[in-house]
Amino acid sequence: MTNTQNTMKTGYAAKRQAANIAIYIILTVMVIVWLFPIVWLILRSFSADGAYNAIFPSNWTFDNYIRLFNDYDAAGNPISQEDMPFPYGTWILNTFIVAVCSAVVSTLIILMISYAFSRLRFKSRKALLNCGLILGMFPGFMSMAATYSIMEIFGLKQSLVGLVIVYSAGAGLGYQVSKGFFDTIPRSLDEAAKIDGATRNQIFWVIILPLSKPIIVYTALTTFLSPWADYIFVSYFMKANKENWTVAVGLYNMLDNEHIGRYFTVFCAGAVLIAIPITILFIIMQRFYVAGVTGGAVKG
């Protein structure tokens, strides 16, 4: 009796175990595939030899990270800050300023637009909603040349202010997720506030926003990320103005034929550094982020 039970149990357990093993093997393979480029990048960034076909560096060094901020030439002479071919520090700062500014401006714009679309009923609402949806389907870089000319007219070409304006200007089109979230907040709250004499403006700031922390965080995060990772527009917009480049454009230039031999490992170090703040930000904000996405996805 016990025997049969045992065999039955083992049969079941074995089946489960087999399934688990299969699942774990698949998961492990996927993890390796996903993590390999990152691990490779990190390993390379600590490599002292310029060679980049080996996975494990033969000599380890922290030099590549130092060279991002204090470079030296092929003969080993230090290069002054002013003459650095790749002023990484300046670029990081530029990227940070642009990302923070456009995150603040864009978040405000997006939330206000979403509030209007969610709560107000006006004649062209439907048309505007559709319009926004269709316009949002066109990639932003399509109008790059025109945007550049417009910025030139305002005297803002190749400037960080211009970049912030461009990134924030299109923000209004990203209203869908936060509008969805606002739709889930009961309208009775608005009505109660209205009875107490609150204006629409007060309702937005005092009632809706405090209830929308997840979506605020989510919007801020996504708007912060897009300038952080954008290459195509900055490279067109900033042209030769190296002082105003962002990290994406700067790092890419390390890989041109002239520099790749001496700068490949430095590039890797730069890529690792740029990932750190984003990763930390994501880990801290993860809770809100998930709540924001799922909350916003509820049909309203």
């Binding site: 030439d73 092929a74 003969a75 003459d83 071919p85 030769a240 230039n253 041109d256 034929n257 002239e258």
Partner: protein, 475 residues
């Protein structure tokens, strides 16, 4: 008779233009060099004598005090338009930036005046390989003065983005630089750029510990010797720039006409087959004393790595890798020579190559054309070329600078000079379509098959390349 009168007339006009250039400089805002700020239209220069290189232009002693004063007043009249402030931008490669900055400081001192402030921004965003393209992309945002490789001149001329060499400097540029370098800067009889260095081509660096100076003449023997030493000889036959040399050697007709944008490359001929078979012949030694591809690394990184870890004993590459190779194996062990001979159709033939120059151009959209031309001239005159050689190791184009003792003793200079008769100008040989159709498929196929390709297969590849070039022409 008619011809003679024409010539005399041309001379007279030249003289007139030279004087008017000077007068203009001294006078109002109509600087003589202003001519060059207008979009060039090709064959419109009165000074053209019909040949490629204009030789009958009077040489003005630009560095004499009287001329300098005139140039300064020309700058002043240009500065008057913008509050007596001049701000121009110079593009150079980031490796050259600190040196170019020093030169620019000297330039500012030399042409200083209390009538204006002169500010030059030395920007290293775009190196000599990209500058021309970036200028064409948006000339209005481009630098006033830019460094580039000579093969970009013709497209810049077509785009109307590069100004003719200022009349007052033309005589100097033509007379003082090597004939070949001037003709590389000349399109349809008009000189558009100031030659700066003569090393935008390739030759061979070798490790003296492996090869004696008399052992670098024959590629087959070099491969054998390198293989005995467990090293290899590098010649990138999968790179279009290097591999085209074989087709030049075989006598294929490779020409490019910028005005009609017509590319000719007669690869589908018996000569083309000879070249392809020569590539196959050396590809047989791939991995056994010969290395014909940099893999994913790219030439520069591959050569650097090869000399650093001792796997390369010789490499076909240009002066830009000189410092890296010297650092890797020690300056005393670095030798340089013209390209070796290769076995082609049963005979040893001298391998041909591309040769080229780095030059300085002036943007037609510059707000300060006169000042820009003076700067371009200053950056490329004899003394600047010499100090550029001394500090950066870049071989001059200026005749006198080339005669300098240290320059003369440089193995790279000798190698370039010896290769020169076999070096072809890029601007007149190949245009954009040539690079776009991947002519190097011959080399990549040869390497991946270890040289084991039938004549039929080779003919097919060659025919394919030519068909692609021809169809690119029609569209």
């Amino acid at each position: 008779m008619v011809r003679k009168t024409k010539r005399v007339l041309a001379l007279a006009l030249t003289a007139m233009m030279a004087t008017s250039a000077l007068a203009g400089c001294a006078g109002g805002s109509d600087g003589g060099t202003q001519n060059s700020s207008q979009a060039p239209t090709g064959n419109n220069s009165a000074t053209t004598s019909g040949g490629d290189v204009v030789s009958d232009v009077s040489v003005v002693d630009v560095d004499s005090d009287s001329v300098k004063q005139k140039l300064i007043s020309a700058i002043a009249s240009e500065a008057a338009k913008t509050n007596n402030e001049i701000k121009i931008t110079l593009w150079c490669s980031s490796d050259d930036r600190s040196f170019e900055k020093k030169l620019v400081e000297d330039f500012k001192k030399e042409y200083a005046s209390d009538q204006y402030t002169l500010d030059v921004d030395v920007n290293s965003s775009y190196g000599e390989d990209k500058a021309g393209g970036k200028i064409i992309e948006s000339p209005g945002d481009g630098a006033d003065v830019f460094n580039m490789a000579d093969d970009q001149i013709s497209t810049l001329v077509t785009a109307g983005a590069i100004a003719k060499v200022g009349d007052i400097f033309k005589g100097n540029v033509v007379a003082n630089n090597t004939e070949d370098s001037v003709s590389a800067c000349t399109v349809n009889g008009t000189t558009y750029a100031y030659p700066k260095t003569s090393d935008n081509g390739y030759f061979m660096y070798y490790d003296k510990r492996v090869f004696g100076d008399d052992e670098v003449g024959n590629l087959d023997e070099m491969i054998k010797k390198a293989s005995e030493n467990g090293k290899s000889v590098y010649l990138n036959v999968t790179g279009p720039w290097y591999m085209t040399g074989f087709f030049f050697t075989a006598g294929c007709d490779i020409t490019y006409d910028v005005t009609t944008d017509t590319q000719v490359a007669t690869f589908n001929t018996p000569e083309g087959l000879k070249a392809a078979k020569a590539i196959c012949h050396i590809s047989e030694s791939e991995g056994k004393g010969f290395s014909g591809t940099p893999g994913t690394l790219g030439d520069n990184a591959y050569v650097q790595q090869g000399f650093e870890d001792g796997t390369l004993a010789a490499a076909v590459i240009g002066t830009w890798e000189g410092p890296v190779i010297k650092a890797a194996i020690g300056e005393e062990n670095v030798g340089a020579a013209k390209l070796p001979t290769v076995l082609m159709d049963g005979k040893q033939e001298q391998l041909h190559s591309f040769g080229g120059y780095k030059v300085v151009g002036v943007n037609t959209h510059s707000q300060y054309p006169t000042t820009s031309h003076i700067l371009a001239y200053y950056l490329t005159k004899e003394s600047s070329q010499l100090s550029r050689y001394n500090e950066r190791g870049l071989i001059p184009t200026n005749n006198k600078a080339l005669e300098d003792e240290t320059v003369n003793a440089d193995p790279a200079r000798k190698a370039i000079q010896e290769q020169a008769p076999y070096a072809h100008q890029q601007g007149t040989s190949v245009g954009g379509t040539y690079w776009a159709v991947n002519p190097q498929t011959v080399g990549t196929e040869a390497i991946s098959n270890k040289g084991n390709l039938s004549d039929d297969k080779l003919n097919e590849i060659l025919k394919n390349i030519v068909t692609q070039i021809d169809s690119a022409k029609k569209s």
